[in-house]
């Protein structure tokens, strides 16, 4: 009898903790240490490409969120200049592009077969379901 009650209490506590976690995930403000979304060209990429390796570093579509990760940071760690997204970046150089409006941006980009790079900037999610969905997507990534 006592074991049954203890089990029920534990289950109840578990449900309570889960509910609190969901409430926190849905309502707590989103805070981040850095708003940079970094993509880097590793050293040796050019050599690998020359050897016939199809290296994809930048996705064709990049998703950012205003106020969270709304700065696209592209870094060239290779030994040769690279057209990376919208910019020609020298070896050791970075290109930092901030976004201030939610929208879809298209850039000419020779690194992609389509010749285009899309950056989708979403607005900061509202508290509640949008924030919860945003956190879930982030955790699953």
């Amino acid at each position: 009898m006592r074991a049954k009650r203890t089990g029920a209490l534990a289950a109840l506590a578990l449900v309570g903790v889960a509910a609190a976690a969901v409430a926190w995930a849905a309502l707590a403000p989103i805070t981040v240490a850095s708003r940079d979304e970094l993509f880097a060209i590793p050293q040796g990429t050019w050599a690998r490409r020359m050897a016939g390796d199809k290296v994809e570093i930048l996705p064709a579509t990049i998703r950012l969120t205003l106020g969270v990760n709304d700065v696209l940071l592209l870094r060239n760690l290779d030994d040769v200049p690279q057209v990376f997204g919208p910019a020609l970046i020298m070896p050791g150089q970075s290109f930092r592009l901030p976004f201030e409006a939610a929208s879809t941006y298209s850039f000419a980009c020779t690194a992609h077969a389509s010749g285009q790079l899309q950056v989708v900037v979403d607005p900061m999610p509202e508290p509640g379901w949008p924030t919860l969905r945003w956190r879930l997507r982030r955790w699953l990534r």
Binding site: L72, P81, V83, P86, A87, L88, I89, M90, G92, Q93, S94, F95, R96, L97, P98, E100, Y105, F107, A108, T110, G115
Partner: protein, 197 residues
């Protein structure tokens, strides 16, 4: 003794406030455009200027240069860009004189010196157009990572081209690249920062 502690706390608070203020004053506010770190020297070139002379980029040292690539038959992007740059320049007041807009053609077939002169002057008489031989223009585009591709358009052709605007500081360093579609206020903001730096 409690007085001494209170005085110490007060001094610490004053020091913290001063330190934070000094740090804030020292840190340059970020550009609205995409910025290069570290910046490199803007690749130099000599092309035919719309003013009838040779346009050498390095001769513009001392001014902030806003440079875009396009063509006079462009249906939307180039007129929008040049109108935005004209508005930005106007909004700078007395600082406008320290800014030079350069428009480099990607369509030398149709954009000769006279056509460029007439076109850029329609936006702002101070704007400079640049044209030249196809291979010279292609070399300039390569050095800035600009792409341009002829495409069929109606009975003639158009040119798909990169639409970013390059921001070059007074020392001739390529500092930033503004994506197409940004507001004149963003340009004015960044030009003021470059003039102040």
């Amino acid at each position: 003794m409690p007085r001494a502690i209170a005085a110490l706390c007060l001094a610490a608070c004053v020091f913290a406030v001063v330190a934070v203020a000094a740090f804030a004053a020292g840190a340059a506010p970020p550009l609205k455009a995409g910025s290069f770190e570290p910046p490199r020297a803007a690749p130099d070139f000599v092309l035919a200027g719309s003013d009838g002379g040779a346009l050498q980029l390095s001769k513009l040292h001392g001014k902030v240069v806003l440079m875009s690539f396009g063509y006079t038959h462009c249906p939307a992007v180039c007129p929008t860009t040049l109108a935005t740059l004209a508005e930005a320049r106007r909004s700078l007041g007395k600082d406008a004189g320290a800014v030079q807009v350069v428009f480099v053609t990607v369509d030398p077939e149709r954009d000769d010196v006279a056509t460029m002169r007439q076109y850029v002057a329609a936006f702002d008489p101070s704007f400079l157009g640049a044209t030249g031989k196809p291979e010279a223009l292609a070399a300039v585009r390569r050095s800035y990572g600009v792409v341009a591709r002829k495409v069929p358009l109606g009975d003639g052709y158009g040119v798909d081209h990169s639409s970013s605007i390059f921001l070059i500081d007074r020392e001739g360093r390529l500092r930033a690249q503004m994506p197409f579609g940004r507001d004149a206020r963003d340009f004015a903001h960044d030009v003021r920062l470059l003039l102040a730096s």
